[in-house]
Each structure stands twice: as C-alpha cells, then as structure tokens.
C-alpha cells in the first residue's frame, strides 16, 4: 500500500499498474471498492450480489487494465464496467424471478421475493429513511435509476454520466429531472402508506 496516497491520481495508479506495479492495483481497490458497492447496491438492492458484482468489476480491472487509455477519467471507465455488470446481473435476477413465478402454483401467494440479505435500518434525522429511499429507487425504471444513482449517490457530473451511459448530456438532464420527480412522488406515496 502506498503511504503517500495523495501523491498519485487514479490515472497515475493505473499507469503504474499497467507497468506491473501490483501495489497500485491494491490502492485502486481501496479507493473504489466502497464507491462501487454503493453504486451497485443502490441498483441491485442485494448486498451479496452487489459485492459479487464489485468483485467481478475489480477482477476485470486486474485482467483488462491494459485496455484502459487515458482518454477518459479512470472513474468513468470503472463505473462503466460496474454499470454494465450490474445491468447484466439485474437482467439475470429478473429472469430468475420470472421463472420462479411461473413455477409457483396458484396457492402460493408469495410472488414478491424480498431482498433480506441486507437491510440497513439506519434512519436519518429527516423525513425519509434509507430503507424508504432504497424502495423508491427500486421502483424507478432502469433508465432513470442509473442516472439518479450516478448523480445523487455518486455525485458524478452530467458529463461523466453521459460518458458512462453513452447518451447525450441533454438526455442525462432530462432523465435526471424526470427521475427526481418520480422518486419524490414514490417517496410521498410510501410515506402516506
């Protein structure tokens, strides 16, 4: 691990790793593991699966670091990988859920598969708790969900989101606006329940 962490930017660390310095990889893992998990978890709402996706993302960084070119920011590159893997995982989850619903009999009414492997109960001082916010995020359609997480949770700029999702900045703005309104509406409904 590097003692003088501030000395190296992410891009410099990747370059060092590309040159064979494994300590640079470990430093990148330390910097990004929680950020990536925070992003993937908001997307999948399952702690174990999210950790697996983050592990796959960081494995990909290890095996494909040579593919990175310093055209884009490293954070954009790694979030693009994580977003793609998370989307694939979500598709797989949905397929699994569809199959399990099809195989259920009429008597079995438990169609909802609750995500109970991680349930942070931490309530914040304001109106909404983390659980409620997570529930509201889950109800968002994928196109809004991704931009909202990247913008509100990860605090990425419009430009970075546009690069990660390969969409125009205009589309990013529009999706953020619509996503925020939907989220607010959903939270209001959840609060009234």
């Amino acid at each position: 691990m590097y003692k003088d962490k501030i000395k190296y930017t992410d891009e410099e660390l990747v370059k060092r790793f590309q040159e064979g310095d494994e300590r640079a990889y470990i430093e990148l893992v330390k910097r990004y593991k929680d950020r990536l998990l925070n992003f993937v978890f908001r997307y999948l709402n399952s702690f174990e699966q999210s950790e697996d996706v983050v592990q796959d993302t960081l494995m990909k960084l290890y095996t494909s670091a040579h593919m990175y070119r310093e055209i884009a920011k490293f954070s954009t590159w790694i979030f693009t990988i994580a977003a793609n893997l998370a989307k694939s995982e979500l598709r797989r989850q949905k397929r699994r859920r569809t199959i399990s619903i099809h195989t259920m009999g009429y008597d079995n009414k438990e169609y909802e598969i609750p995500s109970d492997d991680y349930s942070p109960e931490r309530e914040t001082t304001s109106n909404y708790g983390e659980k409620q916010i997570q529930q509201a995020i889950d109800t968002l359609p994928d196109q809004f969900k991704t931009v909202i997480i990247l913008r509100e949770v990860q605090q990425l700029s419009y430009e970075e989101i546009s690069q990660i999702l390969n969409i125009s900045i205009g589309t990013v703005k529009s999706r953020i606006n619509r996503g925020r309104l939907r989220l607010q509406k959903m939270l209001k409904e959840l609060k009234e329940q």
Binding site: K33, E51, E130, I133, R180
Partner: protein, 180 residues
Amino acid sequence: MDCYSFDRIMSDYIDANLSVKQRQEANEHLSVCKRCSAKLADMKNILAEMKTLKITTSSDFESRLMDCIKNSKERKESRFIRLFQEHSRPISVIAAVFLLVATSIFVYTSVVIPNASGSLPAAEIRTTAPVNNNMQAPVNVAASAKPALSSSRAKSTLPDTNKVELPNYNQQIMTVNKNK
C-alpha cells in the same frame, strides 16, 4: 411561470443550470406559490439524504478478491499445462508436420527456385552478332525477361516471334581476349 413549467425546470434550478432570466422567473413563482416552494424544499431534502447513503464492503472483501485473482491465475496456468499434458501426442505430431513443411518451403525457396531461374532456356535464345564493337546492344528487357522466368515447358508454347535475339557477347569476349 406556472407550476407545470416550474416542475420541468426544478432539476435545473437545483443544479443551478438556469439562465439569469429563467432563475428570476422561477424565484418570482416560488415567492407566490406555496405548493412549489414546499415541493422544492422536499426535493432538496431527498437529494441531501441520498448523498449520505453509504455502504461499505465486508472486512474480508480485499482478501477474498486477492484469493480470487490468485485462483484465476493458477487456473489459467494449470489449464495450459493440463491441455499440453492431455494432448501432448497430437501437439507433437502437429509441431513435427509444421517443422517439416517449414523446412521444405525453406529448401524450395532457397535452393530449387534460384536454380530453376538460373537455368535459362538456352535453346530459346538465339544469339546474333553484335551491332558494333563498343558492346552497346539494344536489348528488349521486357521481352527477354519472359523466357528467363518461364519454365522449360514454355519452349513449345512460345511462338517464334517471342524469341529474343541477343548479341553474341561470347564472340566479343573471345575477340577481346585474342587481342590481348
């Protein structure tokens, strides 16, 4: 500005992406509309809360990741070794055949082809007497190249018109030698 218009620009208002004029209009609307003011405050609240959402990986995450990397490396290496051990005989045969073919090509290109091109079809070249003594003989290079490159079977196929008449250099050389 009405409530519907404010809804459409609320996000840009929060992110400060509006022009001075648009912002002024929005502020004017907010000063008179309690509904939109409350909605804006609520939205800001939600977004502030979202910023605080934090989750951390398990304590053994890094060690698991490193194990995973180590295993995948070993698996990769052992896969290659296993592949070689399992298919050692066909791999050896393929390597031998490849070596044989490569050697044959090398021998053919370095020994056979130069010899073949070196043996000019002498019968095709009709020598003629030199035009003058300073050995300047007009030679049709393109035409002379043809029979040199073609094999001996071209002998029968080439018409007489294609035959090249070269000056008799041998005679010239002999004359020079005699003079010496």
